[in-house]
């Protein structure tokens, strides 16, 4: 069974050299922890920490700087725009309410927010659609939609490109499993059924894929 998702052909064919370059660029970036400070703008972590004290201006700026990314992720899973908006609003409300629990020493602000967003999107998808519907949708979509559908800040564009580079570093099979899980909202068992492979194989591919992704990104446990 072929799956029309994951990374576009040009990236799939990326040369090893290019991947190495991308990898070292990412490692560098992760090493110095904060995004390259083009200006003295507060980081997303600064904004989230300020929002935790009830600072609505900081929360507003956090929203402005992350909304296209969060909404993009939610839309990727929850295809219906009205539902995706509802979920996104709930995500930001949860961000606001639980911001005091965010611990900047344990991870980045955006990853914390994506975790909340993904969980809510998956919950919505699972309650609203049968696995078969999700399958069809995933099969029809491809994550390679042009970035310039919306005027993007450099920050967002760069992150989007990095993400594609990282995905290109996975094997085809790993990418397929990871994408079905993350973008399709499928459980491991559903992925196994869909691909017609044993559950153990799916678990291995997911785990190895995520370990590889971590390594590519220079994230250590």
């Amino acid at each position: 069974m072929t799956v029309a998702l994951a990374v576009p052909a040009p990236l799939r064919a990326a040369s090893a050299t290019r991947r190495r370059a991308a990898r070292s660029a990412m490692l560098e970036r992760v090493d110095d922890a904060t995004p390259p400070p083009a200006t003295s703008d507060p980081t997303l972590e600064d904004l989230l920490v300020a929002a935790a004290t009830g600072d609505r201006a900081a929360f507003g700026e956090l929203y402005d700087r992350t909304a296209t990314r969060v909404f993009g992720l939610v839309r990727r899973l929850v295809v219906d725009p009205a539902q995706a908006e509802e979920v996104t609003q709930d995500v930001y409300l949860e961000v606001w309410q639980t911001a005091p629990r965010f611990d900047p020493t344990r991870g980045s602000a955006i990853s914390w927010m994506f975790t909340l967003a993904h969980r809510r999107a998956v919950d919505r998808v699972r309650s609203a659609q049968s696995a078969r519907d999700r399958d069809l949708r995933i099969g029809m979509r491809d994550i390679d939609v042009p970035v310039d559908t919306v005027a993007e800040s450099a920050e967002v564009r760069i992150e989007h490109e990095r993400a594609h580079e990282a995905l290109a570093g996975l094997s085809e099979q790993q990418r397929e499993c990871v994408a079905l899980a993350y973008y399709g909202g499928l459980t491991q068992a559903e992925i196994a059924e869909r691909l017609g492979v044993p559950l153990g194989t799916v678990k291995t591919r997911l785990r190895d894929g995520m370990i590889r992704l971590r390594r590519l990104l220079g994230v250590t446990a």
Binding site: T53, G72, G107, F114, A163, T201, L213, R214
Partner: protein
């Protein structure tokens, strides 16, 4: 990168094998419950999941960014007033305050500098306003109905209370919820309406010393009723609450002077809505 086709792999599931799938939300509710109990007791597993989540965050950025309609932001901000923030994680366990002082204290004094009005409102005499505190805490609660049934609880073996907790967890109508405790650690509440009992499992709670103790509370509209104290061993505890559980009660956990208090003297480190 080997791919053994170990089909189905019957037998007990090792939660550590599920961490990557958990970070991708590719687990069932039962598997999620299993992983979350593992996370509650293992800092290594938590670090592992954090790292997977950072990587998963990169997957999120591979989705094409899409601008939400401007109306989304305005309706979001219109909802903030009725969305109290949870209390921040205390760097150390809160110092006990005599109940009489707390009752009279100006609400602002109970909140750290810079706390928002919503948060101050949520913290004000919290146990007399269980709905407010729970509205704040509920955002972080994961409700997993029945998922605990048939699963093996971790923790110190041979502890009498552990078997009692297990008995409650095994009730056909058992429900559980897990909350991160302020100050560190996680607390899982399990309750059964049929049995009229509830219990907590705690992991990684900080040591509060000999002169203080953790105390449990059943809270309803009329206020808080003491439901027992406990002192975790190496951060872990299994405790069945004193008194009768009824659905709709709020279960709170506070840090109190040794021996316990008749009414909460500090803000809760966790509050569960049932």
């Amino acid at each position: 990168m080997t791919e053994p086709g170990s089909a189905g792999r019957p037998g007990p599931v090792d939660p550590d094998d599920l961490l990557a799938a958990y970070a991708l939300d590719a687990v069932t509710d039962a598997e999620r419950a299993l992983v979350e109990r593992r996370l509650a007791e293992s800092p290594e597993a938590r670090a592992e999941v954090e790292a997977y989540r950072e990587a998963a965050g990169r997957l999120a950025d591979a989705a094409p960014p899409v601008a939400p309609p401007p109306s989304l932001k305005s309706s979001l901000f219109a909802r903030l007033d009725e969305a109290p923030q949870v209390a921040p994680l205390a760097p150390e366990a809160p110092a006990p305050v005599p109940a009489s002082t707390l009752a009279e204290a100006a609400p602002a004094e109970a909140a750290p500098d810079g706390a928002g009005p919503a948060e101050r409102a949520a913290r004000r005499r919290w146990f007399q306003r269980p709905v407010a505190i729970v509205a704040a805490a509920a955002a972080a609660v994961l409700l997993i109905a029945g998922a605990i049934v048939g699963l093996n609880w971790g923790g110190p073996a041979g502890w009498g209370a552990q078997r009692d907790v297990q008995a409650i967890a095994a009730a056909p109508d058992a429900q559980t919820a897990t909350l991160p405790a302020e100050g560190g650690g996680d607390i899982t509440l399990v309750w059964s309406e049929q049995l009229g009992r509830s219990a907590v499992q705690a992991a990684d709670l900080p040591d509060v010393g000999d002169d203080r103790t953790y105390e449990l509370w059943y809270i309803d509209a009329s206020g808080a009723t003491p439901a027992g104290t406990f002192d975790p061993a190496r951060g872990a505890a299994f405790v069945v609450l004193d008194g009768e559980f009824e659905p709709g009660l709020v279960v709170g956990v506070t840090v109190e002077p040794a021996g316990g208090s008749d009414a909460p003297t500090t803000d809760p480190i966790a509050a569960f809505e049932t």
